[in-house]
Amino acid sequence: MKLHKHCQGNHPDTLSGLSRRDFLQVGMIGTMGFSLSHMLRLQAAEMPKVEAYAAMADSVIHIYLPGGMAQHESWDPKPFASPDYRGPYTPIKTSIPGEYVGEKFVNIAKIMNKLTIVRSMTHGEAAHERGTHNMFTGYRPSPAIKFPSYGSIISHEQGSRNNLPPYVVVPSQTIPDQGTGYMSSAFGPFALGSDPADKGFAVRDLQGPKDVTTQRFDRRRSMLAAVDEHFRTTEKSDAIGAMDSFQQAAYGLVSSAKAREAFDLSKESDKVRDEYGRNTAGQRFLLARRLVEAGVRMVSVTFGGWDHHSNIKSAFDGQAPNFDQAFARLITDLQDRGMLKRTLVLVSSEFGRTPKINGTNGRDHWPRVFSVAMAGGGMKEGYIHGASDALGGEPDRDAVGPEDLAKTMYRVLGINAEKRIVSDGGRPVDIVNGGRIMTDWLA
């Protein structure tokens, strides 16, 4: 129970007994049996209806930069700070008058007027896995309950479209927080299993063996249905149900050439592939675009390693230009195709980095203030939300928490994050607990 808007804790109301959140903290995932029947009952009877929202976007590309990208070298440079705070680069001007980005963001500088930048993100988790959890779920990590990722919630709420899995991770699930948390594994991500930047990249097993004709495949399917019937009707378990749903999803993919083509980068011209960049950033972002174009609802892409405790300059020199080129091209590509308005692109990282350059010419973990970039999907164009202080150390105004970001992202997709989902053990859990819909960001 939240008693006060500034209290981030799960404060039990001692006047009315312990709250639901406290219960969750005790840590009873699974509990004492009888959970399934309760779950169904709760689902049927006790879930309060929430207001329905009209979707402003159909899909999300979530670009995640693991390690914690420094705000100073990227979205929130401090051109007028002393060199030990400003860092090794000279910030550059952008298409928004008076606003700067890091020196390596030359292409992004040009499309800055398409983006919404939040420069006042803040949370209290300075450890990678905890910060990452915040940015993939909108929740603080709890010892007792595993929260589902954005993508799993979206799968649960909106399901599959055009025979494609609703939630795809590119290139593979490297972060535990991309998982389903307390929800059934049926809402888990589809992992490509290989990197789009690899030579001869192909997603495994999308197509049937060459010697299996459609007619033969149909025969296999009908025989499978016949031999599966006995077990399916006599045995009951969540895992059997989940396996069934994946089998149906697999049929969908196999039977739709169009759906399969979404995974085929060779259908893109060499020119486009070059413009995105022939590297992990370029090819992953390009594939992400193909996937949302075909109907995937959530693509979760990771790129690079941004944990620059030392020699931040050489690290940025190495990977920031690839990111810059690929991200800028993704935005212009989406716009050229008329998809930008209905596709939300979100760039985040688990936290920012210390305002002052450390003894090894790097920056250390800093969750007090950092930045998030967004484009499309109903967001304003050329908008800067909030600000960090003069050194980039604390939010100066309009601080935003992970729950605000999560709630707004869900809002854009038409999901009301106040809805509750029943977790294992029969407990209803808010999609996002607290948080605000940041109407300022929306066009």
Binding site: G30, F34, H38, F190, M223, D244, A250, Y251
Partner: protein
């Protein structure tokens, strides 16, 4: 009271006097009926409206908010009669609802007061409201089956004037259900000069003496001795014993508020009160005069904030007149003193009653908590404890410890006070349930414990699985293989009555049994190399392989698990020459090493206690660092060969406490501080304790691991999350399993024999109405996805296509892979453990889309069917269609096809008779894509 009202009161009283002047003295029984029926509903210890209690003469005479309620012998001065005589619409009239009382009743009360308000000695009045009347009527029906009446606590020690204990009278009936009958039993104190009741609490009257509490109900009597010592002495208010508990109870020091590392709004308390010294300093020395105002205690911030007098981010926490605020005010008024150094410490807590079986919805049961202290005293801390239910849909618990039943099921009520957490178990069964205990097979101690539990829950277990199901199940569970058709047939045709245990006996002697457990232990010991990172950094493949081979040899020789653990954890030497020392190379972080050992060998997660006392378990930081101190003297030395690192006893080095920064002496987890000789290898001392019956958690944990492997769910689940707030679903079962494993000298085979022989293991997966939702009480067999290695081996066996893994010969099984870093697409996709952590969640059996696609289109099924030529060979051997189909079903499903299934394949062949092999191979494909193949059932 306004004068106008007073005058009215007088007139009406006089009127009443005139009308009902009669001679006979009023009997207390008459008065009792009126008071209990009309007044006690509000003026009872639970509500105490207007701060007035009418339960005893003393309380009555003491009065409430409006002053003198009762003046014996003087109705005019008694507020009672003034209020009774107010006009109907007056806001002060009593009773507020349904008043005024009939004139005759008012007259009885008036005369009673006038005659001196006599009271039958020892009688405590209780409310007789409608709900209670119904409950009483209901109880009366049940009373003939009363089996046992108990008073909790069983004995009461009253140590000072302040001391009290709340009683619970607890009835157990013949059907094993229980009830809180405190309000219905006839409760009395045999010597009221020694102790007395205040509501249901017992307080001292004399300075010392002995008496007893007597409770009577339904012809049964229960007694609880009361001992009073220093009953008229006061005890000083204490910061640690009276004030700190308020912080925990009101959650001031929880992680979300002032217990956060940075505190909240500028004020920090230690998390869960683990640092009373620091809290005292922060309260009294920071911002002097603000948090504590010694001159005007009521204006201290810690009073005004918590009682809602001024805005508080955490809102109002309790009333100004609550015992919590009173304790704090008294402490401040007494100078906000720190405690003397020898202040008593809490040594433990206990809940009453511990086993509760509630019938129907909305039944309630009060739970009380008693804390014991190092000075030998005890206190009732029910109002200071935190209560939580682990299963609210079954039974919820109020902040004052009242359990309320809801849906059928089982739940644990956790009570927390100081650093201690204990549980009471609650079972809820439907009211009026038609249930007769089934005559369930009881093969051994396992069934005894399981059946008893099921009976208590009124769950009827499923029947026995078929022979076909059994043979497939034990093959997969005991040796990690799918039975071959000839093995199946041999078992099904076996006519011996004890063929099931005989089959298990045979399987236990196979090397695959050993290999399966080597794999499981290799996961827990994290045997893996850094091969994927180019293998130019440790752990090296060679080390991983040697380490694995050592483990395999030990288990192969049937060395008992306790001995293996001792050898492993106390090993010294080179990583090549003494492979067991690789345990200390897989993880170099000392804190992590001790956490891993607790998690793997005791099933406990200590991580929380690294930085603060565990909120939901018994572990304190002292326990954590005391255990860690056993690993403070691990020495490591490189040699010319980077693969050979010497691990040795460095005989020096200590562990510092995170908070105090002082050295901590080695202390067994949950045990004592051993005597250590200088230079003695601390790891060996620890290991010899760890893997012995002196450590109760070891045998339990190993037994639980084995049980979970065979049944799919641990008695504690997950198996590596043993904590007070995650109690075993069947304590007796876990104790029995552990005891037997200890008696068997830790021989795993013997325990496996018991488990597989039990009716609990041999149940069918088919459910009935009572056990359909059950997962944790072993009322039916669970359907379990077979783990990745066993699946791949099965595919290889069924399709007759050998596997090839790095470092192993062609045809080796996936179960035999030594190194956690060696894998392939199939194993990774189906959730093989990477052995990157000790967590039980490393092995995954969750389905995903990649698995479905791989089975459908990948090389695991389609290619292997072609490559292995199973169908082709059968056709060449001249087998008929139905023979081949039967053979395929036996191979893949371990059963024969039904008529419908047979027909679906033969029909398909009939449409394409020239293409017989292809159609049969498609049928083969269908079987291997079917869920029945992937699940053990």
């Amino acid at each position: 009271m306004p004068a106008r009202v007073l005058s009215f009161v007088f007139t009406s009283t006089l009127l009443a006097l005139a009308a009902f002047a009669s001679a006979a003295p009023v009997s207390f029984e008459e008065v009792r009926v009126i008071l209990e029926g009309k007044c006690l509903e509000c003026h009872n210890p639970d509500k105490t409206k207007g701060k007035l209690l009418m339960t005893s003469r003393e309380a009555f005479l003491k009065g409430g908010e409006s002053g003198t309620t009762l003046v014996a012998g003087d109705p005019v001065k008694s507020e009672l009669l003034k209020r009774l005589n107010l006009p109907k619409d007056h806001e002060d009239i009593m009773p507020p609802k349904g008043g005024p009382l009939p004139a005759a009743e008012i007259d009885v009360l008036r005369r009673w007061v006038a005659e001196g308000a006599t009271w039958t000695a020892g009688v405590t009045l209780v409310a007789k409201n409608k709900a209670k009347e119904e409950a009483l009527a209901d109880l009366k029906q049940k009373l003939p089956t009363l089996e046992k009446l108990e008073i909790f606590p069983e004995s009461i020690n009253l140590e000072t004037k302040r001391d009290f204990h709340r009683l619970v009278v607890f009835a157990t009936f013949k059907d094993a259900t229980t009830r809180d009958v405190t309000a219905f039993a006839n409760l009395r104190m045999s010597d009221e000069k020694v102790a007395k009741f205040d509501g249901y609490s017992v307080h001292a009257v004399a300075d010392s003496g002995k008496t007893e509490v007597v409770a009577e109900l339904g012809g049964q009597t229960a007694r609880a001795p009361v001992a009073v010592k220093d009953g008229q002495k006061d005890r000083a208010i204490s910061f640690r014993l009276d004030v700190m508990p308020v912080f925990l109870r009101a959650t001031c020091n929880s992680g979300g508020c002032h217990g956060a590392a940075r505190g909240k709004d500028g004020f920090r308390l230690s998390l869960f009160g683990m640092d009373p010294d620091g809290d005292y300093i922060r309260l009294t020395r920071e911002m002097i005069g603000r948090r504590i105002n010694l001159a005007i205690p009521e204006e201290s911030a810690m009073v005004e904030k918590t009682t809602g007098a001024v805005p508080h981010s955490g809102n109002k926490l309790y009333d100004a007149d609550s015992q919590y605020n009173k304790a704090i005010l008294e402490w401040i008024a007494n100078g906000a003193k720190d405690d003397p150094a020898d202040i008593a410490k809490v040594t433990g807590i206990e809940v009453f009653p511990k086993q509760i079986v509630l019938e129907g919805k909305e039944s309630t049961q009060q739970i009380t908590v008693r804390a014991t202290y190092s000075d030998g005293t005890d206190r009732d801390v029910t109002k200071l404890a935190l209560f939580m239910s682990n299963n609210d849909p079954v039974a919820a618990i109020s902040k004052d410890g009242v359990v309320k039943s809801a849906e059928r099921g089982a739940a644990f009520m956790l009570a927390r006070f100081n650093v201690f957490s204990v549980t009471a178990q609650v079972v809820v069964i439907p009211k009026g349930l038609v249930y007769e205990r089934p005559k369930t097979a009881e093969v051994n101690y396992i069934d005894k414990a399981v059946n008893e539990r099921l009976h208590r829950l009124r769950i009827v277990p499923s029947g026995v699985c078929t022979d076909e199901e059994f043979v497939r199940r034990v093959y997969i569970d005991v040796v990690g293989l799918y039975p071959k058709p000839e093995e199946l047939k041999a078992f099904l045709e076996d006519k011996r009555p004890d063929k099931r245990p005989l089959l298990v006996e045979g399987l236990l002697q196979r090397k695959e049994f050993t290999e399966l457990w080597v794999m499981k232990w290799a996961e827990l010991l994290q045997i893996r190399s850094g091969i994927n990172a180019g293998n130019n950094a440790p752990p090296f493949y060679k080390n991983a392989l040697l380490y694995y081979n050592w483990l395999a040899a030990e288990i192969g020789k049937n060395v008992p698990i306790n001995q293996i653990v001792i050898d492993l954890l106390s090993a010294s030497g080179g990583t090549v020459s003494v492979p067991a020392v690789n345990y200390y190379q897989g993880e170099l972080d000392r804190l992590k090493i001790s956490e891993n050992i607790a998690q793997v060998f005791m099933g406990m997660r200590l991580q929380c206690a690294q930085c603060h006392n565990h909120p939901f378990d018994r572990w304190t930081m002292n326990d954590y660092y005391g255990f860690n101190a056993f690993f403070a003297q691990i020495g490591r030395k490189n040699t010319d060969d980077p693969q050979e690192v010497i691990v040795f006893n460095s005989k020096g080095g200590e562990t510092q406490h995170f908070l105090t920064k002082k050295n901590v002496k080695p202390k067994f987890l949950g045990g004592e501080e051993p005597e250590l000789k200088p230079g003695e290898d601390r790891r060996r001392v620890m290991a010899e304790w760890l893997a012995s019956p002196r450590n109760p958690f070891f045998a339990r944990n190993i037994a639980n691991l084995i049980w979970a492997h065979f049944v799919g769910v641990g008695v504690v689940d997950p198996v590596d999350d043993v904590r007070v707030s995650n109690p075993p679903s069947n304590l007796e079962l876990l104790d029995e399993l552990a005891q037997h494993l200890t008696d068997y000298k830790y021989d795993v085979r013997k325990l496996v024999r018991d488990i597989t022989a039990s009716a609990a293991y041999q149940r069918s997966t088919k459910t009935n109405d009572t056990n359909a939702g059950d997962k944790l009480n072993f009322a039916r067999a669970q359907v379990r996805r077979v783990r990745a290695e066993v699946l791949l081996d099965a595919i290889s066996q069924i399709t007759e296509t050998p596997n090839k893994f790095q470092g192993l010969p062609v045809g080796a099984r996936a179960v035999q892979i030594a190194d956690g870093a060696v894998s392939n697409y199939f194993l990774t996709t189906f959730g093989r453990s990477k052995r990157e952590s000790v967590a039980s969640t490393e092995v995954k059996t969750d389905p995903n889309l990649s698995q479905a696609l791989h089975l459908m289109n990948g090389d695991a099924v389609n290619d292997r069917i072609r490559r292995g030529q199973v169908v082709e060979k059968m056709i060449t051997a001249g087998k008929k269609d139905d023979e081949i189909i039967r053979e395929l079903f036996l191979r893949v499903f371990g059963r024969l096809p039904s008529g419908v299934e047979m027909k679906s394949v033969t029909d398909a062949i009939a449409t394409e008779p020239t293409n017989r092999q292809v159609v049969l191979e498609d049928a083969f494909w269908a079987l291997m894509n079917s869920k029945e193949f992937y699940f053990n059932h």
